[in-house]
């Protein structure tokens, strides 16, 4: 499997979108650093503020969209280049190929998240703060990337199933991500409406948001008492996203194998 993953990375060579994305992750903190310097981030300051903004506002939008586009690149690669016959005759099973592609998404998500952390450290230093609690922030970055990568796997099902163009995949990813984001940041998990409550429990971003809120909302802030009843411990979020990700993985592998056999 490691060989397959390595090969998937080799296949991305000279695909400039991937390096552009990592570069974008490094640039993304600039506006947040400006916000922090302007003093408009509540009780947080410096590094904590830049990192908090990036992890709770930046990554939930950027990471799934970026990974959706990379997923389309990865999953359409064999179809577009007619290379699957070469892989079949080695033989490598479509299940392994699909699994390696999903593993690449997780690794790229991790690289993106750590690049974000690195740039927030630079932003924090520019804002004049000390770099404290680095190990905790590395942990939050890693968990956030894994959760958001797993959370976007349902959209990969659609990409693989519909097997259409890149543009279609990008539009699909964008709408899924924005809908998921709005459910979380619009506070729909607190809705009294049963249908909305159900939807916000099925979609992953609201669950991730409720865990992140527990990390980033300060106890003495006005928002704390409002949102506290909705805090979720990490294990519940991991379980929720694991179920969504796991079922999505099975569906992706099955559809990909059927399409490519």
């Amino acid at each position: 499997m490691l060989k397959l993953i390595q090969c998937e990375f080799w296949k991305l060579k000279r695909k400039h979108f991937v390096s552009f994305v990592v570069f974008a992750a490094l640039l993304f903190p600039i506006p947040f650093t400006a916000l922090v310097l302007a003093g408009s981030v509540g009780n947080f300051t410096g590094f904590d503020a830049v990192f908090g903004l990036l992890v709770t506002l930046g990554e939930p939008v950027m990471l799934p969209i970026v990974l959706g586009i990379v997923a389309a690149m990865l999953f359409f690669m064999e179809r577009d280049n007619d290379t699957l016959k070469n892989l079949h005759t080695i033989p490598v099973s479509p299940i392994k190929i699909a699994t390696a592609k999903i593993a690449v998404l997780f690794i790229l998500g991790l690289i993106y998240s750590l690049a974000t952390l690195l740039s927030s450290m630079i932003g924090g230093m520019i804002a004049g703060s000390e770099l404290i609690n680095i190990s905790e922030k590395v942990w939050i970055s890693v968990v956030t990337s894994l959760l958001y990568t797993a959370s976007m796997l349902p959209v990969v099902i659609m990409i693989v199933w519909l097997n259409r163009s890149y543009i279609f995949s990008i539009i699909l990813t964008f709408f899924y991500t924005m809908f998921d984001y709005m459910l979380a940041y619009g506070g729909q998990f607190a809705s009294k409406e049963p249908a909305m409550k159900l939807i916000s429990n099925i979609f992953p971003a609201p669950a991730i948001y409720r865990w992140q809120a527990a990390q980033f909302v300060l106890p003495d802030s006005p928002a704390y008492s409002v949102i506290k009843p909705y805090f979720l411990p990490l294990w519940i979020v991991v379980l929720t996203v694991f179920i969504i990700g796991g079922l999505s993985y099975l569906a992706i592998v099955k559809i990909y194998s059927k399409h490519e056999s």
Binding site: K3, K13, N81, D82, K85, H88, T89
Partner: protein
């Protein structure tokens, strides 16, 4: 394992009501080149895809190295190199990078394999040119390099000379011949170009509309080809009478007023010439003729010739 490295038993592929390959029984012997000859759309590629497990047969069986292909892919496929349809590679990578991916997946770690395979097909190692910038001929060469890189015992090559220039065709032909003669590889090659098959193959299978019409060695086919003496004379009818009376034979055909085909090639041509001249017949030309593989192909497929 019996005499045959590759054999099929009543191999059939249907797409809905359309039969692409019907009850195909081919037999490829060890260390020989088997040419599968047929027009475009005759079922050659479908057959090769079924041999490699890329397309599931509707019925019938494929046996390679004595093992049924189905269920033994892991045992059989690593011993085969193949080129099926158009070359499939990653356009953003160079030839070396493309081969490196497949070498890695095959578990080949020595760089010498890639270099050796590229040199055999006259492509540069570690060249900076991307696959997307390659000509069709270069792409085809790279596909051949991929097929031979892991030193397989069997090669299955679907139209390997497609897109090659005349010099490239000659190079690939001699290279395939060398692989068979010097390295003892068993090679199954398909083509719609009859001259290529007749120059290269030891055994020939003729496929038309999914049906294998003939399977014989090239030598046997050549022996089967009709031989005749073609006389161009001043009066073909009169010449036929004279030859008939002289040798008590009717194994002749008058093509037109001046052309006569004598199918019994054992008769003494010099004596015939002398007798015809003595009887006032002018002889313009005499040829010993033989049907070509193309004539034979036309005869058994009952249709037009092939390129």
């Amino acid at each position: 394992m019996g005499e045959f490295i590759i054999e099929t038993h009543n191999l059939t592929k249907r797409y809905g009501n359309q039969v692409s390959v019907s009850d195909l029984n081919i037999h490829v012997k060890k260390g020989r080149i088997y040419g599968l000859l047929g027009r475009n759309g005759a079922g050659k590629t479908t057959t090769m895809r079924m041999l490699l497990g890329l397309t599931a047969p509707t019925s019938g069986e494929v046996k390679i190295f004595g093992y049924p292909m189905q269920g033994n892919e892991r045992k059989v496929l690593p011993r085969i190199g193949c080129l099926i349809e158009s070359p499939g590679f990653y356009p953003n990578l160079t030839a070396t990078e493309n081969l490196k991916i497949f070498a890695q997946l095959r578990g080949i770690n020595k760089p010498g394999y890639i270099k050796g395979a590229l040199e055999l097909v006259n492509l540069p190692y570690r060249d900076k040119k991307l696959f997307s910038e390659y000509s069709l001929g270069m792409k085809q060469r790279l596909a051949i390099a991929l097929a031979i890189m892991h030193e397989p015992e069997v090669l299955i090559l679907d139209e390997p000379i497609n897109g090659l220039d005349p010099i490239g065709i000659a190079e690939v032909r001699s290279f395939i011949r060398k692989l068979c003669d010097a390295a003892g590889k068993t090679i199954l090659i398909s083509s719609h170009i009859l001259s290529e098959i007749s120059l290269l193959a030891d055994d020939i299978g003729i496929i038309d509309r999914g049906i294998l019409l003939e399977e014989e060695s090239l030598k046997e086919l050549e022996e089967k080809n009709a031989k005749f003496v073609h006389f161009i004379v001043s009066d073909a009818k009169k010449a036929a009478q004279i030859i008939g009376n002289l040798f008590q034979t009717r194994n002749m055909q008058i093509a037109d007023n001046y052309s006569l085909y004598l199918h019994d090639t054992s008769l003494p041509v010099a004596k015939i010439n002398r007798t015809l001249m003595e009887n006032g017949i002018d002889i313009k030309e005499v040829h010993l003729c033989e049907d070509t593989l193309e004539d034979y192909f036309k005869k058994i497929t009952g249709g037009e010739g092939i390129a």
